[in-house]
């Protein structure tokens, strides 16, 4: 009897289990069923970007995507009315977006925690949130062109575009992980079932060479400069000339990183690396340094500047068509004499001119760690006419990028080393820190030539024809530049690219700054636009770096 009772007990017990399983697996609505084997993708956190002092420039923040499940909505009108208030979306467009025949409708992504909480309080049926992260920029668009932005690819995955986000996308992105667990009916893990978890590898953080204060000074001054000189656009690049670590890189106009999609593609272009320009007179010191290095000239050699110089069918003249007679090589730079530079070019020789242009890296990308760099254009030597060798000595007839210009200029004041410009000094992963060291590409001129050209550039600033409001007590070297803009095969005298490149303190340069203004309207000359802007920036940098006066 007892055995029969036990037998009946077990029969009933198993029957109950079978009925329950039948209920759960067959009758229970599939729409409400928690998957038995649940595989979740574990998204890595995208790497953050810091400046050289570990101040954050790009972080991540919580974000939510609001979605609707139309089948569960009780009152569509009430829901659209309340949501349109909270999301500030017109009621009509929200209502049109809700297709009642669908199971899932995405409404808006990028909602903040506060917005989510506000909508949660409405207690609406048929709404839900998907968790996401999005980029957060504590310094707003201070470094828009540098950073680039995070967009989507065709598979709706996050992809970095342009700047650092584009160049270091693979490092920043990280690797996704996954978790696979057997879950019970209310979603709890079943411990004796399958449990597999592969942790995601978070994206690597980038520590830049950029100093956000230098960046801020550069941006503020450039903005004021564009306004004051009515220029179309402009760039300021500041670097450590010894290492070519970029301390600031700003081009304006730029765009709002948070709302990049509201801007046209033209705004995304970083002129410092993507725009070609004819450098004009800022190029002269490069040719002068080459001639000094080849011992074709000495600083005190003289040139008899008597008037215009003819090269083939072309006449070359000075910027003001005034000539001083016998002048030294240093004076050629001081008064920015085009005819004097033609003389230096002739002394250097065509083969050497072309050879040094290649040595300075023109026609090749600098390999700066930013997405979107162009290589510039250096036509092959067989296509050069005699006039090309003359005009290139004063920076016309060659197309380069601002970053190529500052790199080449750094090489003549740092002892002759052509360095690779770089922005990232450390890549930090969860268990490893990779340091990126300055890289010498090649040596172009000797230490002696470098010291000579530095003295000539100091003299160029001190004895320039224009008088600037320079920081008193400091020795600064530099050179102005004014290049006419070629339009349809001719130069338009009303449109110029004004520039100034300078360094301080000249005996042991702490910074090298290149200022370029495109088509300034108040004056076409670099000496009256870019140069004053440079000195405004230099004054602030001298205070910031606590550099002592030496005079």
């Amino acid at each position: 009897m007892k055995i029969k009772l036990v037998f009946i007990f077990f029969i009933l017990f198993y029957l109950a289990i079978i009925i329950r399983l039948f209920f759960l697996q067959v009758i229970y609505s599939p729409a409400n069923k928690t998957p038995y084997l649940k595989t979740n993708k574990l998204n890595p956190i995208r790497g953050r970007i810091y400046d050289q002092k570990n101040n954050p420039l790009v972080l991540n923040q919580n974000s939510y995507q609001l979605y609707l499940e139309p089948k569960k909505i009780d009152d569509k009108d009430k829901l659209t009315h309340l949501l349109s208030d909270s999301l500030e979306i017109p009621e009509a467009s929200l209502s049109a977006n809700i297709n009642m025949s669908k199971y899932w409708v995405g409404v808006q992504s990028g909602l903040t925690q506060e917005q989510k909480d506000k909508i949660d309080k409405l207690n609406l049926k048929g709404i839900g949130f998907d968790y996401q992260t999005k980029r957060f920029y504590p310094e707003a668009s201070l470094s828009a062109h540098l950073i680039g932005f995070l967009g989507k690819n065709e598979q709706n995955e996050d992809v970095g575009y342009l700047g650092l986000e584009g160049f270091y996308d693979r490092d920043l992105r990280g690797l996704p992980g996954f978790v696979e667990t057997e879950r019970d009916i209310i979603g709890r893990p079943i411990l004796i079932g399958v449990q597999q978890r592969v942790e995601p590898e978070n994206g690597r953080d980038l520590v830049l060479t950029i100093d956000k204060t230098v960046q801020e000074i550069s941006k503020k001054k450039l903005l004021a400069g564009l306004d004051l000189y009515k220029a179309k656009k402009g760039c300021v690049i500041t670097a450590d000339p010894k290492t070519m670590a970029i301390l600031a890189l700003v081009c304006l106009p730029d765009y709002d990183l948070e709302k990049y999609y509201l801007f046209s593609e033209d705004y995304y272009k970083n002129s410092a690396i993507s725009d070609l320009f004819e450098p004009g007179s800022v190029f002269k010191p490069l040719i002068m340094a080459a001639a000094l290095e080849e011992k074709k000239i000495k600083p005190n050699d003289t040139y008899n500047e008597t008037g215009q110089v003819s090269v083939g069918e072309y006449n070359i003249k000075t910027w003001n068509d005034k000539y001083e007679g016998k002048i030294s090589m240093t004076r050629i730079l001081e008064k920015s004499s085009n005819v004097g530079m033609v003389y230096v070019g002739e002394k250097l020789g065509n083969k050497n001119i072309y050879g040094y242009l290649e040595k300075y890296g023109f026609g090749q990308p600098t390999d700066i760690d930013l997405q979107g760099e162009v290589s510039g254009y250096l036509k092959s030597r067989s296509n050069w006419y005699p006039i090309d060798y003359s005009t290139v000595t004063f920076g016309q007839g060659i197309a380069i990028t601002p970053i190529q210009m500052i790199r080449a200029f750094a090489s003549i004041i740092n002892g002759g080393y052509l360095m690779r410009p770089y922005l990232v000094q450390k890549i930090v992963s969860e268990n490893k820190v990779t340091e990126i060291k300055p890289k010498v590409e090649k040596r172009i001129i000797s230490q002696l030539t470098s010291e000579i050209i530095k003295k000539m550039l100091i003299s160029t600033v001190e004895n320039a024809e224009a008088k600037w409001d320079r920081p008193k007590g400091y020795i600064i070297g530099g050179k102005t530049g004014t290049a006419q803009v070629p339009i349809k095969g001719h130069y338009d005298p009303s449109k110029t690219i004004a520039s100034f490149i300078g360094f301080a303190p000249a005996n042991d340069p702490k910074f090298l700054t290149f200022v370029v203004l495109y088509e300034p309207q108040t004056s076409p000359w670099g000496s009256e636009t870019a140069a004053p802007l440079f000195f405004e920036i230099a004054k602030q940098l001298i205070v910031y770096y606590n550099i002592n006066p030496t005079q």
Binding site: L59, N62, P189, I542
Partner: protein, 91 residues
Amino acid sequence: MKNFILRTTWLIMFILVFANLFMFISGIVLSDEINNFELKTDSLRKNNLTLEKEAANLGSLKFAQEQAKKLQFTNSSLPQSLDKLGYAYRP
């Protein structure tokens, strides 16, 4: 002998039933704990991001500028210490 086997069988059955029950209940308790930890970790991660954002905002130049404006720093002092060094040294 027969009684002994019967009792031992019952005893083993009881032990097995209770062991099963214990494991079942322990499993549920542990599952709950795992679930709670998952939720807490998730919540901590979100809080971390929020705090990181707040800390970054407080250290930003944007915030410093707002404070400077609020404290009328630009109106009541002249930071042009290069040309007018006296301002830098004035107590």
